[in-house]
């Protein structure tokens, strides 16, 4: 008997896909934090895509005679160095802009990689249960227990230096979280009546996983991923700080921070601006992710 009222409440609470989008737009207008985060994210994405057009200098262009110029100064050739120059005389602003591209590429690829693995294994684990589940979940445990830096180091050595191995390292160490999340969702989805209905219609396991389960997992996974992008940006910077990350000639926020740390007192701008870029971006991703979640789950909204 309970079901009748159950569904009555559920219709009030459940956000349906189409109407949620409209509601999301309306909500966006009402939420200054979300507007701020969207603006920052747009700026970041634009800098990443158009770095070559926007940045005033080649980020790798050195001039040892113009090193450590403070923000706002004008160099010998009369160019403004809005955010100053670093120890090799490279333009900090240009570095920050180009750094966007690398940091974002690394973070997004790592998240996509981790998400891909996590989604696949999480769905398999949650759908099939049994020994597949046991194996995958033990692997999850091990990955989570394994120190991230050890994994990063080993992968880096195994795969050689370069962006690829960092992406793999960051991605591989993230899969377990996604897999866990996905598995949890799948466990609750696989007994939904519409999944059973599909089974009754003669669908096989693969079809059900691909068509009836995965599409429902993805939205909450994306919300989580948007938060995770921020985590990965910070993790990349940390790896670089420990010398396990992005090579020093690649202008990423992490490398700028890592090399700039020696100048924190003498030339604060070298590390501060990329630091601010990280903080703002990650902050925005977090606010955005929170907001996405609120919109999806109107119980909190």
């Amino acid at each position: 008997m309970s079901q009748r009222a159950d569904t009555a409440t559920r219709t009030k609470k459940r956000a349906e896909p189409e109407s949620a989008f409209g509601a999301a737009l309306v909500q966006l207008r009402r939420n200054p934090g979300a507007i701020f985060s969207v603006v920052i994210i747009v700026v970041v994405v634009i800098s990443a895509l158009g770095a070559d057009l926007i940045a005033p200098f080649d980020p790798n262009q050195q001039d040892l005679s113009m090193r450590l110029m403070p923000p706002g100064s004008v160099d010998a050739e009369g160019h403004h160095r809005w955010l100053g120059t670093d120890a090799l005389g490279r333009d900090v602003l240009s570095g920050v802009i180009h750094g966007t591209r690398i940091s974002l590429t690394v973070a997004l690829s790592a998240v996509v990689l981790g998400l891909g693995i996590g989604l696949l294994l999480g769905v398999l684990s949650g759908y099939y249960r049994g020994w597949i589940d046991t194996i995958i979940m033990r692997a999850v445990d091990v990955t989570i227990v394994m120190p991230f830096f050890l994994m990063a180091l080993v992968l880096r050595i195994a795969l050689g230096p370069g962006l690829g191995s960092i992406i793999v390292a960051l991605g591989v160490s993230g899969w377990a979280l996604y897999a866990r999340l996905v598995r949890g969702e799948v466990l609750s989805l696989r007994n939904r009546e519409y999944v059973l209905a599909s089974q009754a219609a003669g669908a096989n396991g693969w079809y059900i996983m691909m068509r009836r389960i995965t599409p429902h997992v993805i939205p909450s996974l994306l919300v989580f991923a948007s938060l995770q992008v921020g985590v990965v940006i910070v993790a990349e910077a940390s790896l670089t700080f420990l010398g396990l990350g992005v090579p020093p000639d690649v202008p990423s926020w992490g490398t700028m921070l890592a090399t700039g740390r020696d100048y924190l007192v003498r030339a604060w701008w070298v590390a501060t601006f990329p630091g601010v870029a990280i903080v703002l971006t990650v902050l925005s991703l977090n606010i955005f992710g929170d907001w996405l979640r609120d919109v999806r789950d109107p119980k909190l909204g």
Partner: protein, 503 residues
């Protein structure tokens, strides 16, 4: 610098002038152990050099060989050195020092059956030790070794009775020597405390306690020095040197160090084709402006070298000038060699290979780019980098260009050439029979002028052949509290008994 409340570190103990004088030294990490005869000399030096004595010592510039446990020495024949020993020396546990202890130490080092790896490789010429009487010992070498008395600086003397009565690892953790200090306390990760040895045979040192603390992060070491949490830090990040120079209560002491930085080239068969051409190698040397890098990136520290010879090396040729910065010449040579349209090379390094390696390599790469050499930078973590370069000839994973350095302890180029240039050297990616021959001759030449002459020939050959991009002598920069008087040594050791209270 004033002291933070509650810091409670011993560094402040000696401030008053009359209390015990404590000096705090910050290191990167704890040494693995304190056995002077096992590898890891650099990490252990802070303890070993203070706890143990050697037969001879070198002057801070490494030019002069001075008496220590040995009062005098002479070559008896081509392969025998005789040392006369002090008779008034006891180990800190009371065991008496005599010729047997020297023989024991030599045999310990050379023991082929030792449980653990010993540093036999540091004494390539050492054959055996012979006790003549209590205060006389003879060292036999397998080939004539003119510089053995200098090498003896690395030969730490251990007490035979104690050493053989305890296990390897016990000795390694509880070292007993004749030195001015004894190991009073060791808390892994926190501190090593050395205390003045009351029974020391020499002059009583001013520093009562030397405290060595491991602080892995360089910026933190700088901060500790600035806050008074430390008295001496080594190798502050170059970028922070001006900050230290400006800070209150702290001064900077620097020295052109014993380590020579260079860019190695993989010249073995299977290495980069273009580099086989001497003109290309020379062009690379012309292309770089090392002095500019020293003046800027290195904040004015570090001395340009013409080749890999230090000024203190036997036979150093002061007239041999470094390659000048001449991009035009470089382009010309490249064009001659058929690389006028440019050349792509990759350059490998690890951040730890020398100070500011990342920035230096970046700057070098930018300079190479100006003459059309596109140098892709590849950074490895230090351990893997080491394993790539050291003994990596067969695997041949090393990049065409790689940043490397060598720090000979003696004022001789021998170990450097042996390790990095002589055919088959552990990190040699070069093979030149002429060089091998000259090196072999110099090694065995007892006559000093002839030896000097051979080394001059080697230097000329090196400059001409340009198997490296020659860089500079890596500076040893110390940040020092104003309460301590310290003059750096070329060998980078902090010898506590040489430290003085500042007036």
């Amino acid at each position: 610098a004033c002291s933070p409340p509650g810091a409670g570190t011993a560094a402040q103990g000696g401030d008053g002038g009359d209390g015990p004088f404590e000096v705090t030294l910050l290191a990167n990490a704890d040494p693995p152990d304190f056995d002077p005869h096992t590898p890891g000399a650099d990490e252990k030096a802070n303890v070993v050099m203070n706890v143990f004595d050697t037969l001879t010592v070198l002057s801070p510039d490494l030019q002069e060989t001075l008496p220590s446990l040995a009062t005098e020495w002479a070559a008896i024949d081509d392969t025998t050195w005789e040392f006369t020993l002090r008779d008034d020396v006891d180990f800190s546990n009371g065991e008496h020092f005599d010729a047997e202890a020297v023989k024991f130490s030599v045999e310990r080092i050379m023991d082929p059956d030792a449980e653990v790896a010993r540093i036999g490789y540091s004494f390539p010429t050492l054959e055996s030790a012979e006790v003549i009487d209590e205060t006389t010992v003879r060292i036999h070498t397998n080939v004539p070794d003119p510089i053995f008395p200098e090498r003896a600086y690395a030969l730490d003397i251990v007490p035979p009775e104690y050493t053989s009565s305890v296990s390897e690892s016990e000795f390694a953790m509880n070292p007993i020597g004749t030195g001015a200090y004894t190991l009073a306390d060791f808390v892994p990760g926190q501190q090593i405390v050395l205390e003045a040895n009351p029974n020391y045979w020499g002059e009583k040192p001013e520093v009562d306690r030397l405290i060595i603390k491991p602080v892995p992060e360089a910026s933190t070491r700088t901060a500790e020095l600035e806050t008074g949490g430390a008295d001496i830090i080594k190798n502050a990040p170059v970028g922070q040197i001006p900050e230290l120079e400006a800070a209150d209560g702290v001064h900077v002491e620097a020295l052109a160090g014993r380590r020579i930085a260079y860019i190695g080239m993989n010249l073995l068969p299977g290495g980069e084709e273009a580099l086989q051409d001497k003109r290309v190698r020379q062009a690379l040397n012309y292309a770089v402006d090392v002095q500019l890098i020293l003046d800027t990136v290195m904040e004015g520290y570090g001395d340009r070298t013409a080749t890999v010879f230090r000024p203190d090396f036997t036979g150093f040729d002061p007239d041999l000038k470094p390659y000048p910065h001449d991009p035009e010449k470089a382009k010309e040579l490249l064009a001659e060699a058929g690389y006028g349209d440019g050349l792509s090379l990759s350059i490998q390094f690890s951040e730890e290979i020398f100070a500011s390696a990342g920035e230096v390599i970046n700057a070098l790469a930018a300079q190479l780019a100006e003459v059309g050499v596109d140098a892709t930078i590849e950074v490895l973590d230090h351990p893997s980098y080491r394993s790539v370069v050291i003994d990596g000839q067969e695997a041949n994973e090393v990049a065409p260009l790689f940043a490397w350095q060598w720090g000979a302890l003696e004022p001789s180029a021998d170990s450097l050439i042996n390790g990095t240039l002589e055919t088959g050297g552990v990190s040699a990616y070069y093979s030149n029979p002429e060089l091998d021959d000259l090196t072999q001759q110099a090694r065995q030449e007892m006559d000093i002028t002839k030896r000097e002459d051979l080394y001059k020939q080697i230097q000329a050959l090196l400059k001409e052949e340009a198997p490296f991009i020659f860089l500079y002598q890596i500076p040893d920069v110390y940040g020092i509290s104003d309460r301590v008087q310290f003059s750096p040594r070329l060998d980078q050791y902090v010898i506590a008994k040489d430290l003085k209270r500042a007036e």
